[in-house]
């Protein structure tokens, strides 16, 4: 390592007070500078922060956006989510491999390009999509991919490529000078709460500050607001617990890690309503008695960070953040943005906290719950982006206004991220209680065969569920709705979703780390035409074990693609099954098993002829 490089690294550490809890930020900055975090650099960071070297290496190896080996100057990360693949991502992948002469996971010999896969990058409404370094490239066809590579090879200039890839900016704030992205909002149907008319920043806060913190929390309880991040826990109750926990230091975290495949609603909120999010956080700061709020932004949305920082600056300038906010003596609150680094599990609130503390993004054992001991061991409330927007609107418009929408137990509106086989992908803000059929009509799904509700951790339902309601007590969803048209193979899709969980499991506990691999193997066997009836029982039993014995929400929901398709689409599995002959397993192929030995010994089998069967 050159002295300049060493100085850079120690400088980055120094700028963050050599604070080991900021390890993730340090590593992200070092990676941005050098393209990777090499062994010597890890040594130096460990030494500077006075942490064990293995902690640094553990963090580097955990996140998709950190690398210990050098990669190309241009890193192309193609999203390989189910929807992207249904819409041609594999052809794009072939085109990229062909143009560059390398496979995924490799770097060109000249060190210019690397190809990688990414789990859902939050663009399923404009798929296939890829990240080229930090730049999001939506609607990427194979010819566009080829052209892009050719231009880059000729000009060797990343700016040229960017111009080509982003010829048109998206709508709304995507065209903002601080964003300049080709992403489109696809906001198909605004509703009253989140995407209603924009209001003056500070309106909700003004009302909140006229009340006591306890009254603010009571207002949320009266509105019967439930969390929008998936679990649906009552927000007022969560804040009450957090406030009631001892000590005088508390934190509010906005969970903008949006990693559930097929979900992209938080992306559009952050693009178009950042003020509303920060307003909700500030109200939270007041209600909880927290002085610090943190927005954990997924690495894939890094392109939104300049805009968000700008909005924060504006709010500081107009006295909506900082000291004695809006003239309320002693109410101090500020917000910082924490970048994530490409790990789905970090959306789980305790993993998110680990990640923010500079550790691997492993979930923590509960209890203690974050409300008791969260970030840095202090009482912490983690809330979804959409939830915090609801908070702001409830304070501004009143709990009666909010609870008049939706159903008695699921009040307000819900943002749905709709993708898949329909003609109008995008964001729909609908009142809770709407039926699935109404939603399908709204987005022009012509021949819906199955709908994946709530992403891979949700459930796959068929036609018989179309009259059910979208709400917490019936079809619950964090927002994703993937539509599968006639002719789609739900078993293949379940396998695809399991691959996602296998990839994203943090590996801490055995049922999730091993169980999901076994489930996937058996599904692949069935898909290869080698499954028999007993395999379905095996899948069901194993899936139940994984569900009941895993340590965190990821493992507890990872078998749901299998369980819900077995429940709702059993006939699709049965179509693939065969009758075993003589108790022999079709999945065992003697010719494959003997191939290498035949080649090594130069002779044929004594017992088995090439065509299978005994001689």
């Amino acid at each position: 390592m050159s002295p300049e490089s060493a100085a850079f690294v120690t400088g980055v550490c120094e700028a963050l007070d050599n604070d080991p809890t900021r390890l993730l930020d340090i590593l992200l900055e070092v990676e941005a500078q050098f393209g990777h975090v090499g062994g010597e650099v890890m040594d130096l960071i460990a030494e500077t922060l006075k942490v064990p070297r293995v902690q640094v290496e553990g963090v580097v190896s955990f996140y998709a956006f950190l690398h210990s080996e050098p990669r190309g100057k241009v890193v192309i990360r193609l999203c390989n989510d189910v929807i992207d693949r249904l819409r041609g991502a594999d052809r794009v992948a072939e085109a990229l491999e062909d143009e560059l002469g390398i496979h995924f996971g490799e770097t060109t010999p000249d060190g210019l390009f690397s190809l990688e896969h990414a789990s859902c990058i939050g663009m399923t409404d404009q798929s296939p999509a890829a990240l080229v370094n930090d730049v999001v490239v939506p609607s990427l066809g194979s010819s566009k991919a080829r052209r892009g590579i050719q231009v880059l090879k000729e000009k060797g200039d990343f700016d040229e490529l960017q111009k080509l890839l982003i010829r048109d900016h998206g709508d709304g704030n995507n065209a903002h000078p601080l964003v300049r992205s080709a992403v489109r909002n696809n906001l198909r149907q605004p509703g009253a709460v989140i995407f209603g008319p924009k209001t003056k920043p500070g309106a909700a806060l003004e009302r909140a500050l006229a009340m006591s913190p306890a009254e603010v929390i009571r207002e949320l309880k009266t509105a019967r607001l439930r969390g929008r991040g998936g679990a649906g826990f009552p927000t007022g109750m969560k804040w009450e617990f957090t406030r009631a926990a001892g000590g005088d230091e508390r934190y509010l975290i906005c969970n903008a890690d949006e990693g559930e495949p097929g979900t992209f609603k938080d992306r559009v909120i952050l693009t178009e309503r950042p003020d509303l999010v920060f307003e909700g956080m500030t109200v939270g700061g007041y209600a909880l008695g927290a002085r610090q709020g943190i927005l954990y932004l997924r690495g894939e949305y890094a392109y939104l960070r300049p805009l968000l920082e700008h909005v924060l600056e504006e709010r500081r300038a107009s006295g909506l953040l900082g000291h004695d906010i809006q003239g309320k003596p002693g109410f101090d609150f500020d917000i910082r943005i924490q970048m994530g680094a490409g790990a789905y599990i970090c959306g789980e609130e305790t993993a998110l906290i680990s990640s923010m503390e500079g550790k691997r993004g492993d979930p923590k054992t509960r209890p203690p719950f974050p409300a008791q001991e969260g970030y840095l061991g202090k009482p912490t409330s983690v809330n979804n982006v959409e939830t915090l927007c609801c908070v702001a609107r409830i304070l501004e418009m009143g709990s009666g206004w909010f609870s008049s929408m939706g159903t008695p137990a699921s009040t307000g509106t819900k943002l749905l991220s709709i993708s898949g086989d329909c003609s109008r992908h995008g964001i729909y803000e609908v009142p809770f209680g709407i039926t699935l059929r109404e939603v399908l009509e709204m987005c022009f799904a012509d021949e819906p065969f199955a709908v994946q509700i709530g992403g891979p951790s949700g459930q796959m339902v068929g036609m018989e569920a179309f009259d059910r309601k979208i709400c917490f007590d019936d079809l619950a969803t964090g927002g994703a709705l993937m539509i599968l048209g006639a002719g789609r193979n739900v078993v293949e899709i379940a396998a695809e979703q399991l691959r996602f969980f296998v990839h994203e499991s943090c590996g801490y506990c055995t049922p999730c780390r091993v169980g999901n691999v076994l489930l996937l193997e058996r599904l692949e066997q069935i898909l290869a035409g080698n499954g028999e009836a007993a395999d379905l029982d095996y899948l069901e039993q194993l899936a139940r074990s994984v569900k009941t014995t895993s340590r965190c929400g990821l493992g507890q929901s990872s078998p749901r693609p299998v369980l819900s398709t077995l429940e709702n689409f059993r006939e699709e599995y049965e179509k693939l099954l065969i009758e075993p002959v003589d108790g022999q397993l079709a999945s065992f192929d003697i010719n494959t098993a003997l191939g290498p030995a035949k080649a090594l010994t130069g002779r044929d089998s004594v017992h088995f002829e090439q065509q299978g069967g005994e001689r």
């Binding site: 003589d582 108790g583 022999q584 065992f588 098993a593 030995a597 010994t601 017992h607 005994e614």
Partner: protein
């Protein structure tokens, strides 16, 4: 009533599971009252004679002959049991699954410190069964009905399972018979 037929074999195992069966000691006299042995190392029959009620499989499949024998057992046995960790998991022999097959052959026939092989070639003699690409547990080759874990399962475990099956009672293995620490 005719006596039940039992067949046993050792595929890629160490015969430890069979030794454990012999550890039932004098109960073997009772066993003989209940069963006749078809193919088994105990009587040294080389081929299965006829329909068999219970087949006991020790060891997994490491080579073509193991596969042939196991498939033959499956065809003739009503109930087939994986006995011991090798049959169930591949066991010690499956440690070679981490090593490419070419290196296994090389070590065994060409480069191993005790090897004398002037031909310098991997033998192609038909007497030496071809190895499979990896060691497979029995249930990845044919359908297995029961699994008796242990290395080896104790004589009491084998006895409890066998007598229950032979007398048509549910197989009930108390905790002491399937715990290993």
């Amino acid at each position: 009533m005719a006596k039940a037929k039992v067949a046993t074999t050792s595929l890629c195992g160490c015969f430890g599971c069979h030794m454990s069966l012999l550890d039932i000691d004098e109960r073997i006299l009772e066993l003989i009252e209940l069963v006749d042995f078809d193919r088994s190392p105990i009587n040294d029959f080389k081929e299965i004679q006829g329909p068999v009620d219970i087949g006991l499989i020790e060891g997994g499949c490491a080579n073509e002959e193991n596969v042939k024998v196991l498939q033959e057992f499956r065809r003739h046995c009503k109930v087939l049991i994986s006995v011991g960790d090798c049959a169930i998991n591949g066991g010690i022999p499956a440690m070679r699954n981490m090593v490419p097959l070419a290196e296994c052959y090389e070590e065994a026939f060409l480069k191993g410190p005790t090897v004398v092989n002037p031909s310098g070639k991997v033998p192609d003699d038909e007497e030496i069964p071809l190895l499979l690409d990896k060691v497979y547990p029995a249930h990845e080759v044919v359908k297995m009905d029961y699994h008796l874990p242990g290395c080896p399962p104790s004589a009491d475990t084998l006895w409890a399972a066998l007598t229950a099956l032979l007398t048509g009672k549910p197989v009930d293995l108390p905790y002491e018979l399937v715990k290993y620490d």
